[in-house]
Amino acid sequence: MSIDETVDPAQAVCPVPRAEDERVLLGHGSGGQLSASLIREVIVPELGRATPPGPLEDAALLPIGGVELVISTDSFVVNPLFFPGGDIGTLAVHGTINDVAMRGGAPAALALAFIIEEGLPLDDLRRVARSVGQAASAAGVPVVTGDSKVVNRGAADGIFITTTGIGRRMPGAALSAAAPRPGDVIMLSGPIGSHGVTVLSAREGLGFDGDVTSDSQALHRLVRAMVDAAGPAIHTLRDPTRGGLASALNEIAQAAEVGVVIDDGLIPVSPAVAAACEMLGLDPLHVANEGCLVAFVAPDAADDVLVAMRARPEGAAAVRIGEVVAEHPGRVTARTLVGARRIVDMLVGEQLPRIC
């Protein structure tokens, strides 16, 4: 059986949706196939002409008065609010800065809105706001405007944050999910899976959180160093958040209509994250990250970019994980540890830990 004959995921839909399923499921927020279908099949069609056509990106390029702005918005919902390595405040700052940076934007300012549940201890709110302030100051990106609303007990889960980031496109940056070409080298800035495992462990009391911390961090300075080193030879950057590395690679393969090949043995996963994933039956490729990026780079610039990445603390553990091919467009495959090949699919809905 050849890889080329595989099932087209676009065909893999049920022709007669069951009426019971005509409601939003938690899995629609997982960052995987269900999230993509919610946006593509429900939200975007209803927006109609209000949204321009094109691949779905984490941030938009917006030329205004001769300046090319990059704008992105993101909502943050996390339970628990505080976890090893960060909290909802650091996530709200880092996540939006990273989304702007992945389109080549140098983040200039953030706008931030809190939705707060009645009854939240004021100390928790202070702690979150302090985290926002510290993370934004450390990143050098000011919070310039914002809003707060309070809703009834039960109508939110402690606190939700929506952050919008705006920046100016870095000179030389020409980044898009549709840009990768066959031959491109794929690089990862650091180990995957620590954020998702940390939050899951802290939420469910699984006891792994002593060994793992979230990788939550701002990546715009790493992006700047990469762009300075190789400019337009960097075709695509993506931070693999919800849905994990597998979903990010699939989205890029589909947007660029190219094949992606990675090597299972080259994907960095820390021993603690690997152990937790083994026990819970999770695939690290599907686990969320908040502080690493995947880069698609023209082959002749790959070494320069890798050197530039490793010179920054955020990219000190950067490695090559694979390459872009002309075969199997829209599909991601992995060379397995024993030398066979398999398809790497997007997460379907929620990650469901298995029985045994």
Binding site: M1, I3, E5, T6, V7, Q11, A12, V13, C14, P15, P17, R18, E20, D21, R23, V24, L25, L26, G27, Q33, L34, E204, L206, G265, P271, A274, A275, E278, L280, G281, R331, T333, T336, L337, V338, G339, A340, R341, R342, I343, D345, V348, G349, E350, Q351, L352, P353, R354, I355, C356
Partner: protein
């Protein structure tokens, strides 16, 4: 990682494959019983690297997959009750019942929760005396000891609001049922290492002798599977039919006696229906008479629910290994992990889902 990396070494894998090529002189059909083994075989592409003629038939060892539709419907009926907090391992939640699944029921307001240990369900019941906490006790001999301990714990705490919906199944009767089928092509078995870690392998010895089939207790890592396959093929080539233990780092002949004692105290052996296969005598566990107060089927009066399978799903033929997922007309189109018609498409350990996530096509 200790105990993992050394069982994933590509160089050793090549050596084992080379040995297998040298040992195998004729075609052989082997069945790996456990869904975890199927997952590794397909995910790592091991079955496609095997020498020509060595065929793996994927067995019925996915607990999610063999839980009968009827029991899913009972779970849904119980979980829909306003006083109930329904607690389950994660991968049961997306299994389709006749009209819906637990995740969709949750979206409609039912209190459905995922736990990682049955003791979490007992703790929840102790903390919430106002709620009826029902745990969905599914699985093979591997999960039975922990579920037994949960019942004993609930009994010790005299918790009136804890109960279990039990659908435990046992491996040896399933192997016997497969071997008794007239069209059985299986010539050797890889037994499930974790099941044997609990039960040992003495109960497989009479099966190997009576049916003249080699049975190799096998682990779950790529090298475990390759070595287990090699051991089974060596036996077949030599005309032997014995129980051998590949998974010596985890399994002893008598298993784990404390775990077996807990199972025997809380459960008794009963006839059980397997989804897609049908009734197999003495193939399951039910709560012993002393613990029927904790039986959710009785407590909520759902014993009378009956269900009919989706007519297009060939789960039965998949689970017995007589067909592969790519033989099914609905595979990959009307039936996907997103919209499963039957259970083998739901769990990552189900044969259909394992095929689909590895991108295999009809």
């Amino acid at each position: 990682m200790k105990y993992l990396d050394e069982y994933r070494d590509p160089a050793v894998a090549r050596t084992l494959l080379h040995q297998l090529t040298q040992v195998a002189t004729t075609p052989w059909a082997l069945m790996e019983v456990c869904g975890g083994q199927t997952h590794t075989l397909v995910r790592q592409g091991i079955d496609e690297l095997l020498p020509a003629g060595i065929r793996m038939i994927h067995g019925p060892g996915c607990p999610v997959c063999v839980t009968p539709l009827e029991l899913i419907d009972k779970a849904l009926a119980i979980a829909a009750r306003p006083e109930v907090t329904f607690v389950s391992f994660g991968d049961m939640l997306r299994v389709p019942g006749t009209s819906t699944d637990l995740l969709a029921l949750k979206a409609r307001g039912a209190d459905v929760r995922v736990v990682y240990s049955p003791m979490d369900a007992v703790r929840l019941a102790a903390a919430r005396p106002d709620r009826q906490v029902v745990f969905f006790a599914v699985g093979f001999e591997t999960t039975a000891p922990a579920n037994a301990m949960a019942v004993l714990h609930a009994a010790a705490l005299e918790l009136p609001n804890f109960s279990m919906l039990v659908s435990h199944v046992l491996v040896p009767p399933a192997i016997t049922a497969i071997l008794d089928a007239p069209d059985c092509e299986v010539q050797g078995f890889l037994a499930a290492g974790h099941v044997c870690a609990v039960m040992g392998w003495t109960e497989y010895e009479p099966i190997a002798e009576r049916y003249r089939v080699p049975i190799v207790v096998t682990g779950f890592e790529p090298l475990d599977l390759l070595e287990g396959i090699l051991m089974a093929v060596r036996q077949l080539e030599a005309g032997r039919a014995e129980v051998e233990n590949q998974y010596a780092r985890a399994v002893y002949r008598d298993g784990n006696t404390a775990a077996r004692d807990a199972i025997q105290r809380v459960f008794h052996v009963t006839d059980r229906t397997w989804r897609g296969i049908g009734a197999i005598p003495t193939s399951g566990l039910a709560l012993a008479a002393e613990f029927t107060d904790y039986d959710a089927e009785r407590r909520f009066g759902v014993g009378a629910i009956h269900a009919v399978e989706h007519p297009e799903c060939i789960a039965g033929a998949i689970l017995t290994g007589s067909r592969v997922p790519t033989d099914c007309a609905a595979y990959g189109t009307r039936c996907t992990p997103r919209t499963p018609l039957g259970a083998p498409m739901v769990s990552t350990e189900g044969t259909c889902a394992a095929f689909f996530s590895a991108g295999r096509t009809r």
